[in-house]
Amino acid sequence: MSGTTRRGGAVRRAGVHVVLWGYAAVALLPLLVMVWNSFRTDQELVSEPLGLPVAPSFDAYREAWVEASFSTYFLNSVLVTTASVLLSTAVSLLAAYALARSRSRLMTVIEQVFVSGLMMPVFLMIVPIFYLLDMIGLASTRTGLILVYAAVSIPFSVFVLATFLRQLPDELEDAARIDGAGPLRTFWSVLLPLVRPAVATVVVFRFVPIWNDFFYPLILVRDRERYTLPVGLTTFFGEYQTSWSTLFAGLVIATLPLVVLFLVATRQIVAGLTAGMGR
């Protein structure tokens, strides 16, 4: 009896392993193929579709970066994403402080308006935004894109930051006030160091969707010099249809910064959390 259960357990464990590794392959193989095909030439891709990069070639990256203007798209993406995340985090932090530390009824209403934006219908808003940018002279500019991204990020950022600020005890602020510090000074010297973990969360969780976003720039940006990576990818796929390894390289370039962010941010978030706890 115990022998059969043990054998049954072994079979079951082997089955679990097959399922786990099997799905890991399903999830990962396409991404690995993307990376290693970017190091192969078009001829190799056709003659041996399942081959590995025996003699890695960087031609595809040079082609994508220089010829296909990926350097321009990349810089635009970095600029737009960084600026909009910084702007939205800054204004959301100030707003969250006000919302978390005020007793006025008006503030509750304002907070509800902000948070209702979590369900905002992007398809409904895009046409008016398009005309609005045109009206204020920001059509097809990176500034326009930055302002729009910063604005649509506010609901999520305010929600997370206000929730976090409410969990912080008031005592430190009381002490600062008794010492004669004004609200801005208290915010800057007392609260800012404490909210670092929440800020890290907000930055990472807004950076990713903005970096990946394709809808807003597709409609709001007409000038190729100002394309971000996702829109750049669409024109690139139209023009380089037959240069497959270049296409693979373009996909890798668009993905790489996110991988870097995850590596860097994990450390920052952990550091922020432990720093907050140490105090």
Binding site: P49, L106, M125, T234, L258
Partner: protein, 306 residues
């Protein structure tokens, strides 16, 4: 838990702190949202708003071509995306989350591996699969031929019968990482003593899952289902990358967002803004309506399970 609110800010100071966010949000979110609601009720000539026409744009959407054909077809495709994602996340996703929960070794590693597709941009995912499925050099067809399935190898994205299923599968492949993470977190938060109690009562693994774990997971499954629905209805980058803005071949991969995009920016119709705003409102109402109805219904299911 009573908290002293001694650190309260005076209202004028609080308003000052709120000002930058309020201006940005008001100008770029509230104002567009408010004007958008009126757009669908007017007729337009290009970018000029003309007359108030009531619900005429909606009537046009449901009675005139090409919208009359394209709207239900696109909506059906969105529904299929939802069905595909739900099938994947509540079978494969749930199974993997439970299996991972039962083991300590490599749990984190597997979690990261399984979530990788979800972390990559959906547009990149769509384009990647368009390359992998290429009839010229695509590794997928090469793999099928290598294992003797030559008959199965085909131009997946060129055939209307297979193209839609490719979009459904690729979408599910990417999305499933998210429910998997959430289910994993929910399982981790469950009280292990409930499992132990059931085990002492002599319940087998299947019984424990059906009568202990599943009822406790139901609220999370419900929440994730609503998010999956919203995501499926707004799907845009993957269909765009795989079938272009016209949902090729022959509209086989068309979805609501593409219909909206074409109508608003590529139709050339003089009343493009009126009709496309009607499309956006219909989509929004469907999303809100179904999400609310689903949440209500699911609370009932929850009660029956527990």
């Amino acid at each position: 838990m009573s908290r002293r609110r001694t650190a309260a800010l005076p209202t004028p100071v609080a308003l000052l702190f709120l000002l930058p966010a309020a201006v940005l949000f008001g100008v770029f979110v509230l104002y567009p949202m408010a004007t958008a609601l009126t757009y669908s009720l007017f007729s337009w000539r290009g970018t000029a708003q003309e007359a108030f026409v009531g619900l005429d744009n909606f009537v046009a959407l449901f009675t005139t071509e090409p919208y009359r054909t394209e709207l239900p077809r696109a909506f059906g495709h969105n529904a299929l995306l939802f069905a595909g994602a739900m099938a994947a996340q509540n079978s494969v996703g749930l199974l993997l989350a439970v299996l991972l929960h039962q083991r300590e070794r490599f749990r984190r590693l597997f979690q990261v591996l399984f979530t990788m597709p979800y972390l990559v941009s959906p547009l990149v995912v769509g384009y990647l699969w368009s390359l992998l499925l290429s009839p010229l050099f695509g590794p997928v067809n090469a793999l099928l031929r290598a294992v003797g399935l030559d008959a199965v190898a085909q131009p997946w994205l060129g055939d209307p019968d297979t193209a839609l299923w490719v979009v459904v599968l690729v979408t599910a492949w990417q999305w499933v990482g998210f429910p998997l993470l959430v289910y994993g977190a929910a399982l981790g938060a469950l009280d292990p003593s409930t499992q132990e109690a059931a085990m002492l009562d002599g319940a087998g693994a299947a019984q424990r899952f059906r009568h202990v774990t599943l009822p406790l997971l139901t609220p999370v499954i419900g929440t994730v289902s609503v998010l999956t629905f919203i995501f499926s209805m707004e799907a845009f980058p993957i269909p765009y990358a795989l079938g272009g803005s016209s949902g090729s071949p022959a509209g086989a991969t068309d979805v609501m967002s593409l219909l909206f995009y074409r109508t608003a920016f590529h139709s050339g119709a003089s009343n493009a803004i009126g009709v496309s705003s009607a499309v956006a409102i219909v989509l929004f109402l469907v999303i809100v309506g179904v999400s609310v109805a689903f949440t209500r219904w699911f609370r009932g299911v929850e009660r029956r399970l527990t």
